[in-house]
């Protein structure tokens, strides 16, 4: 059986009629007891399971997922990876994530197609321009690559921008190390690597309740029966409040639908990622040629994985405003993911009021870029009981102490 992916194994299997490939991950029976249980088979959960095994030697780990792995926001985002944040705590965390992404294909032996094609944020008015300068300076002070560009320079780097726009393009900042990756591959790569280290990935398994004894978590009741463990981590994004309520916890989270869509595929015409806060849209082009377009949040509570038409229209208008030449493109698919928005647009990563129950949520509209670091830090917390230094400022207690980290502007699309 062929396990490792390489040019040689491709050639060998090609000659061999592709009959020797091993399934990418095992499909095990759930056991009654584990050293750690991770709830949620999205990017963050899968990365957590992988780093529990890889960094901390915990291999008797279960990952339980209600549906199928990577079927939630991990398969619904616009695949943007960046670390253009403002405050030192966020910048250090997200840049660590970008660095992990830079080595991830090799680490996982799975091509996640990380393409560092740059990430532009455009400024459309004087105030936006001032903020762009300030933002670029903050990034540089935080040790992150940032370039400020005036209008001629923006136009030279991004061909096809509207020559006479309703919202003038006065400048922008670029993070050259930002870019896009294949989101499904991130989930599948982590799943395959975690499974190879012994992690049980159990799909179609819904968590019904927590087993809590004397204020301490002792496991979970699932649709496949009870699984006991003294360490449980949850990374369930839009469903965080629903799962946390089973442990009697209330969270500062609101779940909103964030929609995206792709156009029909066309020849390569856009080689970077563009965010335009003023027009409420962001876009890039996938390797298949589709324009990947993100809209703003539908700003009312929703667990329906579909977006509303007014926001879709606004995003489409924004794209046409930026690039009139895309006005004839047809949409191919539209969808939405349910994102977990907190008041300061900073994640929640830390212990909870229930001993042994740890939480990873609050990523809002930008969880994909944080997958490796979010998994790394949740694994650290579950294995050692201590918050990772990079995530120390992200504890839920900040809502009580008032030490919020207001990243509303760096979180990308307005919410």
């Amino acid at each position: 059986m062929t396990r490792r992916y390489s040019a040689l194994s491709l050639l060998r299997e090609g000659v061999n009629g592709q009959r020797g490939w091993e399934p990418a991950w095992r499909n095990p029976q759930a056991k009654a007891r584990y050293d750690a249980i991770v709830i949620g088979g999205g990017g963050h959960g899968l990365a957590t399971a992988y780093y529990l095994a890889k960094n901390h030697g915990l291999t008797n780990v279960a990952l339980v997922e209600r549906g199928w792995i990577g079927g939630g926001n991990t398969g619904r985002n616009t695949t943007v990876i960046r670390s253009n944040y403002f405050f030192p705590a966020s910048a250090a965390f997200y840049d660590f994530s970008v660095k992990l992404y830079e080595g991830l294909s090799k680490e996982l032996n799975y091509n996640i197609m990380f393409s560092q094609r740059g990430m532009w944020t455009l400024a459309h008015d004087r105030h936006g321009l001032e903020m762009a300068r300030r933002s670029a300076n903050a990034m540089l002070l935080n040790g992150i690559d940032a370039e400020f560009h005036d209008e001629p320079s923006v136009r030279a780097r991004i061909p096809g921008l509207n020559p006479d726009p309703r919202f003038p393009i006065l400048g922008g900042i670029n993070q050259p190390r930002g870019g896009t990756a294949r989101h499904d591959a991130v989930a599948w790569g982590y799943a395959r690597a975690a499974s190879a280290l012994g992690v049980d990935i159990i799909q179609n398994c819904e968590v019904l309740d927590f087993i809590i004894e004397g204020g301490r978590v002792r496991g979970v009741e699932t649709s496949l029966g009870a699984m006991r463990s003294d360490r449980v981590g949850m990374a369930v994004a839009g469903h965080s409040s629903v799962i946390a309520a089973k442990a009697g916890l209330r969270l500062p989270v609101s779940s909103y639908a964030l929609q995206a869509f792709v156009s029909e595929p066309v020849k390569p015409c856009l080689d970077t990622v563009i965010l335009s806060p003023a027009t409420g849209t962001y876009l890039s082009q996938s390797d298949k040629g589709e324009l990947v377009i993100g809209a703003g949040l539908d700003l009312y509570l929703s667990y329906a994985q579909r977006g509303s038409l007014p926001w879709m229209e606004r995003a489409a208008a924004g794209v046409v405003e930026l690039f009139p030449r895309f006005s004839r493109l047809r949409f191919l698919r539209q969808w939405a993911g349910i994102v977990d928005v907190v008041h300061d647009s900073t994640p929640i990563l830390g212990p909870t009021a229930v001993d042994g129950l740890f939480i990873n949520c609050g990523w809002g509209t930008g969880g994909f870029k944080a997958v490796p670091a979010g998994g790394w830090c949740l694994a650290h917390l579950m294995a050692t009981g201590e918050s990772h230094p990079l995530a120390r400022a992200f504890g839920i207690e900040r809502f009580e102490t008032g030490a919020l980290i207001d990243e509303a502007s760096a979180s990308g699309i307005a919410h």
Binding site: R250, P252, V253, Y300, L301, Y303, P310
Partner: protein, 113 residues
């Protein structure tokens, strides 16, 4: 897309409205006796319900008045529309009507998200 029935103006499209978060949140008091935990819970924690949810809406591009909506957050079906000072006409899990009729619109808006 939602079709909301403003109790003052009638049915209008979603784009005329602004969502104002969970309804029936009571400001804890008296102030000197409120702990940091209670205050944080009041300011930040939300039910964020999957299913039937009672929430406030503002007819921002219309009469600019606030009102309550009971809505299913999975199907987006509007179950009831009622004024800020009225209790929810639907029973909650315990069968009791939700909301305090003595709440004035002013205090009900105190916890805008």
């Amino acid at each position: 897309m939602l079709l909301l029935e403003c109790p003052y103006c009638g049915p209008r499209a979603e784009i005329e409205f602004r969502y104002g978060g969970e309804s029936h949140i009571r400001r804890p008091g008296p102030h000197a006796e409120v702990s940091d935990a209670q205050w944080a819970d009041y300011l930040y924690n939300r039910k964020n319900l999957k299913g039937e949810h009672r929430e406030r809406w503002l007819h921002a591009a219309g009469c600019r008045r606030w009102f309550n909506v009971a809505r299913n957050t999975v199907t987006h079906q509007v179950l009831a529309v009622y004024k800020m000072t009225e209790p929810c006409p639907l029973p909650d899990d315990t069968g009791a009507p939700v909301g305090d009729p003595s709440m004035t619109p002013g205090t009900a808006m105190g916890g805008a998200a």
